[in-house]
Symmetry: C2
Subunit: 342 residues, 2 copies
C-alpha cells in the first residue's frame, strides 16, 4: 500500500490509482472504488482492461461466496418492480445485494434511459444494495465478459447475492447462463403468452418461470397460465443439473409469493450443491471465460494488425462479389497475418 500513498504525495494531481489501492478499497466495501474498477473492466482502452484484469485477479480469492441469479423477461413483465421489491425483501432477510445489468442495446432502444434510480426506487435508498447499470454500447460478448469480472469484484466487496438482469432481446439470455447459478424467467399471463416464449426460445434454460402480476383480476389467468406452463415443462429435456424447473405465480407489486420465489432459489442451491452441480457449473463457466478470452485476444491481435487493416475491406469486397471464395480469401489473409506477425 505504501507505494500508492507515496505516489499521491509526490504527484498530488494525478488521478491514477494503483491496483493495490483498488483492491484494498474494494475489500473494505468502498462502492466508489468498486464502481471505478467495474468501469475499468468496461473500458475500450487496452491499458484500462489490463489494470482491471490485475484487480480482478487479486480479488479472486475473496470472491465466489454469493448466489448469482439471472433475471430475464421482455419489457412489460414488471422486471424492474420485481427486482426492486424482491431485492428489498432479501435485504430484509439480511442479504447484501448487487444488481448488475446486461443490455448492450441500452443506448439504441432507450431501455435504460429512464435510469436505474427511477426504475428501482426502493433499492437505491438501501445501503445494503449496489445497483450498477449496464455499460452502454459495445458488443454483447464484451458486455458479458465485463459482467463476469464485475461479479467477482462485487463478491470481493462483500455482496452475497448478485442479480444479473438482462433485457429480453434474445442472445443476452443465452450468455447469462455463463454468468449465473440460477436462471429466473419472468412472464405474465394473458394473450400471447406462448409468444413470449417463442420469441425468446429460453424457456428450456430457465430454472424457474415466474408468472408475475398475479394480482387483482389477473390472479385467475395467472393460475391457469401456471397450469399450462407446468404442463409445457414436461416437453423439455431434462437439465444437466437434474433439477426440474419450477413454475410459480407472484406479484412483485403486492409482494405475493416473493417468499416462495426465494424458497425455490434456496432449494435449488441446496439441491445443486448436494449433487455438486453448483460447483461444476461454476468451473465450466470459468473455463468458458478462459476460452472466450483466448479467442477474443486472438481476434484482437488479428484485426489490429496493420497489414490486416490495410487489406481486410478489399478482401471482403472481393468475397462479396464472388471474385474469390470465402475460404481461399480467409486462408490468404491469415497467411499474410502470420508472416507479418513474425
Amino acid at each position: 500500500m505504501n507505494s500508492s500513498i507515496n505516489s499521491k504525495y509526490i504527484q498530488p494531481k494525478t488521478k491514477e490509482i494503483d491496483v493495490e489501492e483498488y483492491v484494498h478499497k474494494i475489500l473494505s466495501g468502498d462502492r466508489v472504488f468498486l464502481s471505478k474498477a467495474i468501469t475499468l473492466t468496461e473500458s475500450t482502452k487496452e491499458e484500462h482492461r489490463e489494470k482491471a484484469g490485475e484487480i480482478v485477479e487479486k480479488c479472486l480469492p475473496f470472491s465466489g461466496k454469493s448466489i448469482r441469479i439471472g433475471i430475464t423477461g421482455i419489457p412489460g413483465v414488471g422486471k424492474s418492480t420485481f427486482i426492486d421489491n424482491f431485492g428489498a425483501f432479501l435485504v430484509d432477510k439480511g442479504k447484501k445485494l448487487a444488481v448488475l445489468a446486461i443490455d448492450p442495446s441500452s443506448v439504441k432502444t432507450g431501455g435504460s434511459i429512464l435510469g436505474d434510480k427511477t426504475r428501482m426506487e426502493k433499492l437505491t435508498l438501501l445501503d445494503e444494495v449496489y445497483v450498477r447499470p449496464s455499460p452502454s454500447g459495445g458488443n454483447l460478448g464484451g458486455v458479458a465478459k465485463s459482467t463476469h469480472e464485475a461479479i467477482i469484484l462485487c463478491e470481493a466487496a462483500g455482496f452475497d447475492t448478485i442479480f444479473v438482469e438482462t433485457v429480453g432481446v434474445g442472445q443476452s439470455e443465452i450468455v447469462v447462463n455463463y454468468l449465473v447459478d440460477f436462471f429466473l424467467l419472468l412472464i405474465i399471463a394473458g394473450a400471447g403468452d406462448e409468444l413470449q416464449g417463442i420469441k425468446r426460445g429460453i424457456m428450456e434454460m430457465a430454472d424457474a418461470v415466474l408468472i408475475n402480476k398475479a394480482d387483482g383480476e389477473n390472479l385467475e389467468k395467472s393460475k391457469n397460465a401456471k397450469a399450462e406452463f407446468t404442463k409445457a415443462m414436461h416437453y423439455f429435456s431434462e437439465s444437466d443439473s437434474g433439477w426440474s424447473s419450477k413454475v410459480e405465480i407472484c406479484s412483485a407489486t403486492t409482494g405475493f409469493n416473493l417468499d416462495k420465489v426465494w424458497d425455490i432459489i434456496k432449494n435449488y442451491e441446496t439441491y445443486s450443491k448436494a449433487n455438486n452441480y453448483f460447483n461444476k457449473k461454476r468451473e465450466e463457466q470459468n473455463a468458458y471465460w478462459l476460452y472466450q478470452t483466448i479467442e477474443d485476444e486472438l481476434k484482437n491481435k488479428f484485426y489490429h494488425n496493420n497489414k490486416v487493416i490495410d487489406l481486410i475491406k478489399k478482401i471482403e469486397k472481393e468475397v462479396k462479389s464472388n471474385m474469390i471464395s470465402s475460404f481461399e480469401a480467409g486462408k490468404k489473409i491469415i497467411k499474410i497475418f502470420t508472416q507479418n506477425n513474425k
Copy 2:
C-alpha cells in the same frame, strides 16, 4: 488437364486426382466426383481441405444460379416425406435438385441412421436429384462450412434447386440462415403446437411456416393452426428483407398445396430480387464465411501450437479451481503463444 492424364499413366496405381480433373468432372455433372469433392471439404485432414478449397475456388464462377432453400422442423413433422414429394414435384417441373443435410448429431441420435435412401424413396430413383447425407460427427460450425462449399459445388454441377435440411436441434437452424436464400419451417397442428416453436425459437427466422399433414381428420385442426400462426406472425418484428412471412397448410403425403408452397418460394425470389435483398443476403453470407474461416484458422493455429497443447489443460484446471482468473490466464497463454510463434 494434360498433367492429370499424364500422371495417371506414369503412376497407374495412385488414386490421387488433381484439382483440374475434379473441376472438369464436376462441371460435366459427374456425381461421383461431386461426392468425392464434398467428402474432401468434410475431411479433418488439412491437405484434403486445402485441395477442397482449390476445387471450390475454381467452381465458384459457375455457381450461384440456384435457389437455396432451408427446410427445418423437429422429427415427426414429416420432413423426409415432404422433401421426397416436394422434390419430386419440382423435378416434374423440370428442376435439378440437390438435397444436402446438416445434422452434426447424426451419429449420436441416430437421426440419419435409417439412411437417406430409405427416407427419400422417390428422390433416390430420380436422375435429376442428388441426395447427400449429413457428414456425421464434427462440430456444427464445421459441418455448416462444408455445406456452404457443397452448395457451390452442386451449383457448378448444374443443380438449380438446393435443399438444405436441418434436424430441429436448435443451433443448426440458426446457422442455416447463413447458407440459404429461403427458410422453410415445417410444423404440424395439434397438441403442443406452441411448444414446437418455443423449443426452437426460430419462428421469427422463417420465411414461410408450413403446417404439414393437413389431410383427413387433421385438416380442420391444421386450418385452425394456420389462423393461429398467422396471428402470431404479427408479433414478430419486420424482417430485413421486408418480406412478411407466409403461413400455409399442406400435405406432403397427398401432395395437397405443394404447388402453393412453390408459389410462395417463387414469389419470395421475385420479391427479394426486385428489392436487391436476394443479392445482398448472399453477399453478407459470403462475408460471414470469410470471417468464420479467419476465426477458425486463427483458433486452429493456436490450439495446434505445441506450447499451447502442453499448457492448456493445466491452465484450464487452474482457472476452474480459481487459482487464476479466466482473463489473466487467457492473456498469459496468448503471450506464450505469440512468443512461441515468432
